[in-house]
């Protein structure tokens, strides 16, 4: 065969789609192939090999997704075309820059989770079914941002939901709450799916095609309907109020690595959907879209963090905090939409980049936090903060990683959360004015309100994560299990450390990452966000600069002499130990005398009593001889979800009543069914002869 013939053969093979043409196509094909291989391995591998073998394959899937996402984000083109038997256009998976970014986020979390799950899973979490579902979940999640038509988008979305549902149900045999969580999750995810499907249907009817790339000239009527449907659908996926009710049930009940993947990655698909709609499918929407998104986002942020701050269950706390963070992301998205409507492009771009950065940093710190919670459960079997404590000394790596991630979640400087919230605040503060003039009354009312929401949220978040970290890792153990805790296996430590490192890296060197993110959404990226100095970030449009490394260096210049002089002067005085003549009770301190998570949040519950509506139960047991002496007091406080009790419960009750009525109508009697058809036939005959 001559070279020319070989070239010709290669050409035909490329045309026939046998050999991938571009890096993107190869990456997507590889993900699908590895996914199939992982499913096969999970089905056939021996139990003692299963976790390792499939875990490695899952890590490879995630790494492939990471690289593919990176190529797409840097502007790579090409994609995977899948012809299908149905009479419609072939499915086309070709991620653009924005899709690449989200593929990167999702698979980054996937890498952490796969590494972690290799040694964390045991028992039902490591069953064959669970390990089959894991690669399905990962691949589905990574393909959603790659979809360029609504059919493949919905298909990937459903594959993702299916995988996550099976993973959630892994432990259903041992706990009854898992089954209930599964029902809530299925119902709510199908509700979201229904809204998204309806939204795409409206769009397809209005634009005449299912592809995302067809020019969008859609009438305002259908566009508004589609927008509301998409907001409900993707809001449900992104855990926004009032469609968040599944979150506090599902994330705590799922195995920890699954909740990390759900909260860190799957929820971002909701964000991606929101961006897809507002940036790509229906650009230049009216101002009220921005306001609607801001209202939903702000309400979610406040409600989420409020619930998180009073929760004493570590995973419920993290779950509600996810609602808060997603609320902030949507607040940024809404603000950007609103500002773009008033031609404040620089501030709009900054808000959008801030929203994306928040999504990236949330993926990093929230998956680390959930994995940390998983490590705590692995070590103690407890997730109730009131029974933890003193884990810092026993689990140093977990404590360090959890601490860094908590700083990120509380948006403290030198972590990723701070950079994102700083940028969001900058864009909101400067967004109301353009060249010194007020852009509009709406914006000048909305922006300060949004700033207030973020300020309150940030304060409560600080309180929440001080509680989460302080009660769990500091002080003395509050239970025997916590006292006996041991550090988790090295692989789990590795993924925790990786997550924490990324939180720090994004916080210290935000510039390059922000510039990259800016490329994905802005038409003029260098005007929106730039990298300056040692990885610092600059927003030229609104004249704001943040350089964390410089800040660290400066504060070190100030702090080091002070610390050195303190140490030197301390050397001069020898250490003395003095026996206290009277300890004031402090010398007999017991673990029960410490603050608990519930008591720490108690003032907050009082302040927000009207919103949270807690139910308290105080039981006083008197000493048998006298009712003036108390033997023990038991206080129980439950904070239920207002939306669940006030909004969902009545609707569910209505459906239940309807179900009971219908059961009488269709009671299984053949005669009754036959009578129905007979009567129907008679009615038809009478009607046609009238």
């Amino acid at each position: 065969m001559t070279g020319m013939e070989a070239g010709l053969l290669l050409q035909t093979e490329i045309e026939a789609g046998l050999i991938p043409q571009t890096g993107l196509e190869a990456g997507l094909l590889l993900q699908l192939g590895l996914g199939a291989l992982a499913v096969l391995t999970a089905l056939t591998a021996a139990p003692f090999l299963r976790s390792r073998a499939v875990g490695i394959l899952c890590t490879l899937i995630a790494v492939t997704g990471f690289l593919t996402g990176l190529v797409a984000m840097l502007g790579g083109t090409g994609g995977l075309r899948i012809s299908i038997a149905l009479p419609m256009d072939p499915l086309l998976l070709a991620p653009d820059r924005l899709g690449g970014l989200f593929m990167l986020i999702v698979s980054g979390v996937g890498i952490l989770v796969s590494l972690y799950s290799m040694s964390s899973t045991h028992g039902p979490d490591a069953s064959r079914t669970a390990w089959v579902a894991m690669p399905v979940f990962l691949v589905g999640m990574q393909l959603v941002p790659a979809a360029t038509d609504s059919v493949s988008f919905l298909l990937a979305l459903e594959i993702m939901t299916l995988g996550s549902t099976v993973l959630l149900l892994a432990d259903h045999a041992s706990r009854a709450t898992v089954a209930s969580a599964g029902i809530w999750y299925s119902a709510m995810s199908q509700l979201s799916f229904f809204f998204i499907l309806a939204g795409f249907a409206v769009l397809a009817a209005a634009s005449g095609g299912t592809s995302f790339s067809t020019p969008q000239a859609i009438e305002p009527g259908p566009a508004n309907v589609a927008f509301v449907l998409f907001l409900l659908g993707f809001g449900g996926k992104a855990e926004l109020v009032p469609l968040h009710v599944w979150v506090p049930r599902v994330l705590p009940e799922a195995p920890s690595h699954v909740s990390a993947a759900m909260s860190g990655a799957m929820v971002k698909i909701g964000v991606y959907g929101g961006l897809l709609v507002c940036v790509r499918l229906l650009p230049d929407g009216p101002a009220w879209w921005g306001i609607a998104i801001m209202v939903v986002g702000g309400a979610s942020a406040l409600y989420g963090i409020l619930q998180a701050s009073v929760s004493s269950d570590l995973k419920v706390l993290l779950a509600y905090s996810t609602t808060e963070n997603m609320g902030l992301v949507f607040l940024g998205l809404g603000a950007s939409l609103l500002l773009r409507g008033y031609d404040a492009t620089a501030a709009a771009d900054a808000a959008l980049v801030a929203a994306l950065l928040l999504a990236v940093s949330h993926a990093a710190f929230k998956s680390t936090l959930f994995l940390g919670a998983g490590a705590i459960i692995h070590a103690t079997g407890e997730r109730n903060l009131d029974r933890l404590g003193g884990l810092g000394a026993r689990m140093p790596v977990t404590a360090a990683a959890f601490g860094v991630a908590s700083l990120g979640a509380a948006a403290i400087p030198i972590t990723s959360g701070f950079v994102a919230e700083w940028m969001l605040l900058q864009s909101l503060i400067h967004g109301g004015r353009l060249d010194g003039a007020v852009v509009s009354v709406t914006a000048s009312v909305a922006m300060p309100l949004a700033v207030a929401v973020i300020a309150l949220t940030a304060g409560l978040a600080l309180l929440t994560f001080v509680k989460a970290y302080g009660i769990a890792f500091l002080a003395r153990p509050r239970s025997a299990e916590a006292a006996k805790a041991r550090e988790v296996p090295p692989l789990m430590q590795l993924s925790l450390a990786l997550g924490a490192l990324f939180v720090l890296a994004l916080g210290l060197l935000p510039g390059p990452i922000a510039a990259l993110v800016g490329h994905t959404v802005s038409s003029n990226p260098s005007a929106a966000v730039q990298s300056i100095g040692l990885g610092g970030v600059s927003l030229p449009g609104i004249g704001a600069v943040l350089d964390p490394i410089m800040l660290v260096v400066l504060s070190a210049l100030v702090a080091i002499p002070v610390i050195v002089s303190i140490i030197v002067s301390a050397r001069g005085h020898p250490h003395r130990t003095v026996d206290l003549p009277w300890g004031g009770g402090g010398s007999r301190a017991r673990p029960r005398m410490q603050y608990t998570a519930t008591s720490y949040a108690e003032p907050l519950v009082r302040v927000f009593d009207d919103v949270l509506k807690p139910s308290r139960d105080v039981q006083v047991t008197h000493v048998a001889e006298s009712r003036y002496l108390v033997e023990r007091v038991r206080v129980e406080q439950r904070v239920s979800d207002v939306f669940e009790t006030r909004l969902y419960r009545p609707v569910l009750n209505l459906f239940q009543r309807y179900g009971i009525v219908v059961r009488h109508v269709a009671n299984g009697s053949i005669h009754r069914y036959l009578s129905y058809s007979f009567v129907a036939l008679l009615i038809v005959l009478i009607v046609v002869s009238l």
Binding site: H671, L682, L685, S689
Partner: protein, 219 residues
């Protein structure tokens, strides 16, 4: 000669069909119902034969022989294939008392006349005039299905319904090709055989064939 009798013969056959249907609703004994079914099959075969002779189509005569063998002899024999003594004891206790049932039959017959005349028009030939009988048989068969408790009585309702459909077909369009009729007849025979075996199993398993007891839905 034949032309003068033709309308009367059509009237006689369709009258027999309607009469047997009404009697089936009235009588509660299973054996009587089976005999009436056989009679109805013979009447149907006679109707087809009369139409065939009047139209001069030998194929229809062939079909009438087929109907006679399947609906007049075969199916009743299958249904009654059990010791006469036991089948005589089977008494249906229907969900509708005989007076109400006969009243319902009257109303259904009137309804079918109204429907056919208003919707399709009665047409100007004798067979067209008799077409409502077929619809009435279908409705009466349905009535039997919902009013009878025992599986085997319901089977008879089902067969009556099938006869009704066949009657409509022959009266309005001069029947179907012989091959199709053959296939349909075999189908009905097969269904009846299966249901018959099924009823037998039901009786040995539960001791009774009252469909009312089959209310629990199982996975």
């Amino acid at each position: 000669m034949f032309e003068t009798f033709y309308p009367q013969l059509i009237g006689l056959c369709t009258g027999a069909l309607l009469l047997t249907s009404a009697l089936m609703v009235w009588r509660h004994s299973l054996l009587a119902s089976i005999r009436l079914l056989a009679l109805q099959g013979i009447a149907l075969a006679a109707l087809v034969a009369v139409i065939g002779i009047a139209e001069g189509e030998s194929e229809l005569v062939l079909v009438s022989l087929l109907i006679l063998s399947v609906k007049g002899i075969g199916l009743p024999w299958v249904l009654a294939h059990q010791s006469k003594a036991s089948i005589k004891q089977i008494q249906e206790s229907p969900r509708l008392n005989p007076t109400a049932a006969l009243l319902a039959v009257t109303l259904l017959t009137i309804l079918s006349y109204v429907v056919v005349s208003r919707v399709f028009g009665l047409g100007d030939n004798e067979t067209g005039h008799a077409a409502p009988i077929g619809l009435a048989m279908v409705l009466i068969g349905f009535l039997l299905l919902i009013s009878r408790r025992r599986a085997r009585s319901q089977l008879i309702g089902f067969l009556l319904l099938d006869n009704g459909i066949a009657t409509i077909a022959f009266l309005t369009s001069g029947g179907v090709p012989v091959l199709l009729e053959f296939a349909v007849s075999l189908d009905v025979l097969l269904v009846v055989l299966i249901l018959h075996v099924f009823t037998g199993r039901m009786r040995t398993k539960f001791g009774g064939t009252s469909v009312d007891q089959l209310r629990e839905l199982h996975d």
